[in-house]
């Protein structure tokens, strides 16, 4: 289990008050156990990405919700595409898959 102190120690340049504000904004959503935050690896990497976007890419915090909204939708779509692909691999016969691949290759997007 990893708590807020360990996350702050792990990500160089991250200040506690920033991370607490991001959690309050629901930009980072750790679990809670007995009143303490418990972070999964995805939460830690997301906090680091937010820090990089703010400090290295100079996206200020007023604009960050827009970026996160679009980013989350991008990953939603990628997961959906992957689910769809997996379902297709399991359900569709090989010749149907070949036909679809051929159709996609010859039709403009």
């Amino acid at each position: 289990m990893i708590g807020i102190d360990a996350v702050i120690a792990e990500i160089s340049g991250l200040k506690r008050q920033d991370l607490e504000r991001w959690i309050a904004n629901a930009w980072v959503r750790p679990d809670r156990a007995a009143g303490d935050y418990v972070f999964r690896e995805i939460d830690v990497t997301r906090a680091r990405l937010i820090l990089e976007m703010r400090d290295e890419m100079e996206i200020d915090e007023d604009a960050l919700p827009v970026v996160l909204l679009l980013l989350d939708q991008l990953y939603d779509l990628r997961r959906q595409m992957r689910d769809l692909n997996n379902a297709f691999m399991q359900v569709a016969p090989i010749d149907v898959r070949r036909d679809v691949a051929a159709h996609l290759a010859t039709h403009p997007r």
Binding site: I2, R40, I42, R46, R48, M57, Q73, R79
Partner: protein
Amino acid sequence: MADPYTTLGVPRDASQDAIRDAYRKLAKQHHPDLNPGNAKAEDTFKAVSAANSILSDPEKRGKFDRGEMDASGQEQAPRESYRDHAEGGSGRRYSRTGSQSGGWSDADFGDIFNSVFGERRKTDDDRPSHGQDERYALSTSFLDAVNGATRRLTLPDGRTLEVKIPPGTADGQVLRLRGLGGPGRNGAPAGDALIEINVAAHRQFHRDGKDIRLALPVTLTEAVLGGDVEVPTPGGLVNMRVPPRADSGTELRLRGRGVPAHDGLPAGDLYAKLNVVLGAPDEALEEFLRNWKPKNPIDPRQDMREQP
């Protein structure tokens, strides 16, 4: 590796500010978390980061300019990134469609897929239909996921499932237990139970693909004079020799002590990054330092002044 000035697109006499601006501009465009699935962006970003790690550091830049250092060897170790998690099942934590459990909600079908799958809800009642896949989540400790474990999962209907978590299981990975999902109708087979494994982060270990990283506290004596130290690994304590004249930040590799071999992949390595801990200095150390005239004095804060 290409010339770092060419990679960042700056002249050889560029100021540190110009280098930082060029790096930031390229990072915005090529950051892999903003370009998931785009291997070219990822390669470009790696090259840009490596070039920046030389040119942003006036000392390394000077060495490179004087030909004392070449551009290779500056590739940074691949590190765990947001997209590795967001692409997998664990990414649903930050989903905007509201579907947290796994199966597709109506919002997932949405306007893109509805025209393809709009017929899905009209099913003939007397036709055989395959049982639904049922999704569950199982939380596990970091070490159980790395080393493998068997866990019992109690389902809402009271059934229990023995779930074998194989060694090397990653956060968000989904295990499929065939035939243990919802019952089939009219003679069709049952669906599968899909178990998403949520791996808790560990206090000291961090997973990086098949490698494990940790920060290893060492004493001043161990760092300067070297010595044997015990290092925790997922498989237990292992002895490691710290070479003389090591420093905070020195990274040592224990080959084969990362994530154990699994699925035909060889075992990963464990990277221990040294962290010098002084503890409570005594009079003898104070006395020594007062009289110590370093042969090679350093200015550890040089960077900070040049790049505030």
